[in-house]
């Protein structure tokens, strides 16, 4: 099995978001491997451990992404690649870059997180699949291989769907797919020695101006906390009635 996993480094979910000068400040922020990508990496490594093969992880973005790649290597991926860019491409561009990388090899399985905790668009995985012309199932909660097909389950908010998909195919991982392992210290050290290839967009035959999205960020702001305060008036009975009505509206919106 040749497996490719798309990963990104994101804010630690414990961090508070600070907007400064029209963008989210990255000063003194701790970064982690995007939590959904951990499930993707774990699944890839489990498949490798069961059926053999090789797991490659790839990211697009700044130098600092290397750390997320090293985490994935410490979890058991075999090699990594970083396509260097300034981190400003949107899903459209990133998907084209990742697809170009994927085309350099032949992969039976492709995994990604179902979304990133920063961008949260959930687009990148499906877009890459579209670029590559392979089937995609998003937000899977179970994964098994049966011959040359993958059988996966996804949660449909109230019921589950089981799908059988021919390979190669791309799957995006939802929380609950598995229990991502801790990188052990010996594995963190081994990861230091695993190959990490650095590529430029040119190396992949891509021209940056063709990757720019059609959207522009107009403004970046922290949504004001809306606190509604209402003083209830009237007799105690009237106030109690008004409160009960209010609560009912809150619990059972019409």
């Amino acid at each position: 099995m040749n497996i490719l996993v798309f990963v990104k480094q994101t804010f630690d979910t414990e961090e508070t978001v600070v907007v400064q000068g029209g963008r989210v400040s990255e000063d003194n922020v701790r970064f982690v491997l995007n939590p959904y990508d951990e499930y993707a990496v774990e699944q890839a490594v489990q498949v490798k451990e069961e059926f053999g093969g090789e797991v490659t992880v790839v990211a697009v973005g700044q130098e600092r992404m290397e750390q997320a790649l090293r985490t994935a290597l410490a979890m058991g991926a075999d090699k990594a690649a970083l396509v260097e860019d300034d981190g400003s491409l949107d899903e459209y561009g990133v998907a084209k870059v990742l697809a170009a990388f994927a085309r350099r090899g032949t992969y039976d399985l492709l995994f990604a997180g179902q979304a990133t905790v920063d961008g949260a668009s959930a687009q990148t995985g499906p877009r890459v699949a579209e670029e590559l012309g392979v089937p995609v199932v998003a937000a899977i909660l179970r994964f098994t291989l049966e011959g040359d097909r993958a059988v996966v389950e996804r949660d449909m908010e109230g019921y589950s769907e089981r799908l059988s998909v021919p390979l190669p195919a791309l799957f995006t991982a939802q929380q609950g797919l598995n229990e991502p392992r801790y990188p052990t210290l010996p594995n963190v050290m081994k990861a230091k020695k695993k190959p990490l290839e650095r590529l430029t967009l040119e190396d992949l035959g891509l021209a940056r101006e063709r990757l720019l999205g059609r959207t522009a960020t107009v403004e970046c702001f922290v949504a004001p906390k809306t606190r509604q305060r209402r003083m209830l008036q009237g007799s105690p009975e009237a106030q109690a009635q008004a409160l009960a009505d209010e609560l009912r509206r809150f619990v059972l919106p019409d």
């Binding site: 630690d12 508070t16 701790r30 982690v32 290397e66 750390q67 090293r70 985490t71 410490a74 801790y182 990188p183 052990t184 210290l185 010996p186 963190v188 050290m189 990861a191 230091k192």
Partner: protein, 385 residues
């Protein structure tokens, strides 16, 4: 100095484990004064406690710099490494002064976590900081030592398989210098308890598994002695620098945790129609604590770099410990004050960490003793004791 990205990877590996042990985990254990078994197991299984053991003995062969980052991160995440930090460095005395046979016998098993060597018996009730006066004796009888005496505040003795024990083998009256005549023995606690060793837990103001030990004709095989007879004090001393640096790192982790919690609370808590953190009277103590934590951190990395380069670092290691312990205590105080009444509520964890970080003013070495060291050995003033 080890490169920043690598240290950050280490931190993130440790943080992954710590994230599974939230504040509530530590809070509940604290209330029951229980040992953090699950946390220690997770950390052991992930190999972090074998960081300092050379690769040829099954560890990761890392330096004190990296080890200090591991312990710092545990404290930075709100946990406490005291339950297991000694598993990292107590083996140092075997590594540096043990025979090849002792190293082969113990180190690989310690690295795997099969043997816990995290008890270190030095302090005694009647002599305290004046270590060379200690009264516990080991008298040689054939191929055994017979140990008699008493130790106090010996941590983790109930959660350790082996203990490194400092005893007097030649009476004080018969040695040229008081630092001579002390020896280091490895006591197998699994065998010793009930056969000459009694362990009695001491309940303290923090959740710290510390105990009192009573020795009554405890027999220890001579082959369990580390290095030469009579040279034990020197062996213990040269492990102290590593310990000082590692403890400094724990303080720095605590300090950062306090500063972060205090800052967050100061921004969120609104009284008199404004966040309390808008008042300079609230800001300044937190800002000052932050400055001191960061300054202490520089001394810690400097000491660690010297240590890892095999250069003398006693002055730097001691100074790092003092600066870091003072900074974490200052940060603790600022955090408690910032939280007002809520700082005293167990649910906020400030009071727990406040109690915990207070320890470093006293143990493993008290602040005064560090100052005495600096005055005498760095500045050349007369010995004061």
């Amino acid at each position: 100095m080890a490169d920043q990205m690598w240290l950050e990877e280490l931190r993130s590996g440790v943080r992954r484990i710590c994230n599974s042990f939230p504040d509530s985990y530590w809070r509940e254990l604290d209330a029951k004064r229980e040992y953090p078994q699950a946390f220690v197991e997770a950390l052991t299984k992930a190999g972090y406690l074998a960081a300092l053991i050379p690769e040829e003995y099954g560890g990761s062969g890392l330096g004190v710099t990296e080890a200090s980052v591991i312990l710092e991160e545990i404290h930075r995440c709100g946990g406490n490494a005291a339950a297991c930090h000694a598993q990292m460095y107590t083996m140092g005395v075997i590594l540096r002064h043990g025979s090849e046979e002792q190293k082969r016998r113990y180190l690989p098993e310690i690295a795997k976590g099969n043997i816990r060597l995290q008890a270190f018996g030095v302090t005694e009730p009647t002599t305290g900081s004046d270590t060379t006066q200690l009264k516990t004796t080991a008298v040689r009888r054939g191929d055994r030592y017979v140990v008699n005496g008493q130790k106090v505040f010996i941590s983790r003795a109930q959660y350790s398989d082996l203990m490194v024990l400092l005893v007097r083998t030649t009476p004080l009256a018969e040695v040229r210098k008081r630092t001579e005549g002390l020896s280091v023995l490895i006591v197998d606690l699994r065998e010793a308890v009930g056969k000459g060793l009694t362990i009695r837990p001491i309940r303290t103001m923090i959740n710290h598994a510390t105990t009192e030990l009573f020795f009554e004709n405890l027999e220890v095989p001579v082959e369990n002695r580390i290095g030469e007879e009579g040279q034990g004090f020197r062996y213990i001393l040269d492990g102290m620098n590593a310990e000082r640096i590692l403890i400094a790192a724990e303080c720095i982790g605590d300090g950062r945790w306090f500063v972060e919690r205090a800052t967050r609370y100061a921004k969120e808590r609104v009284v008199f129609g404004r966040p309390i953190g808008q008042n300079q009277g609230v800001q300044f103590p937190i800002a000052r604590a932050h400055v001191h934590v960061e300054a202490a951190d520089l001394m810690r990395f400097r000491a660690a770099a010297l240590y890892d380069a095999g250069k003398p670092c006693a002055a730097e290691a001691n100074m790092a410990k003092l600066l870091a312990a003072d900074a974490s205590w200052e940060a603790a105080n600022a955090a408690l004050q910032t939280h007002g009444g809520f700082g005293f509520a167990e649910e906020f964890d400030i009071e727990r960490k406040f109690r915990e970080t207070r320890l470093y003013q006293v143990a493993p070495i008290s602040t005064n003793l560090i100052l005495s060291y600096v005055a005498e050995h760095v500045l050349g003033m007369p010995r004061s004791y």
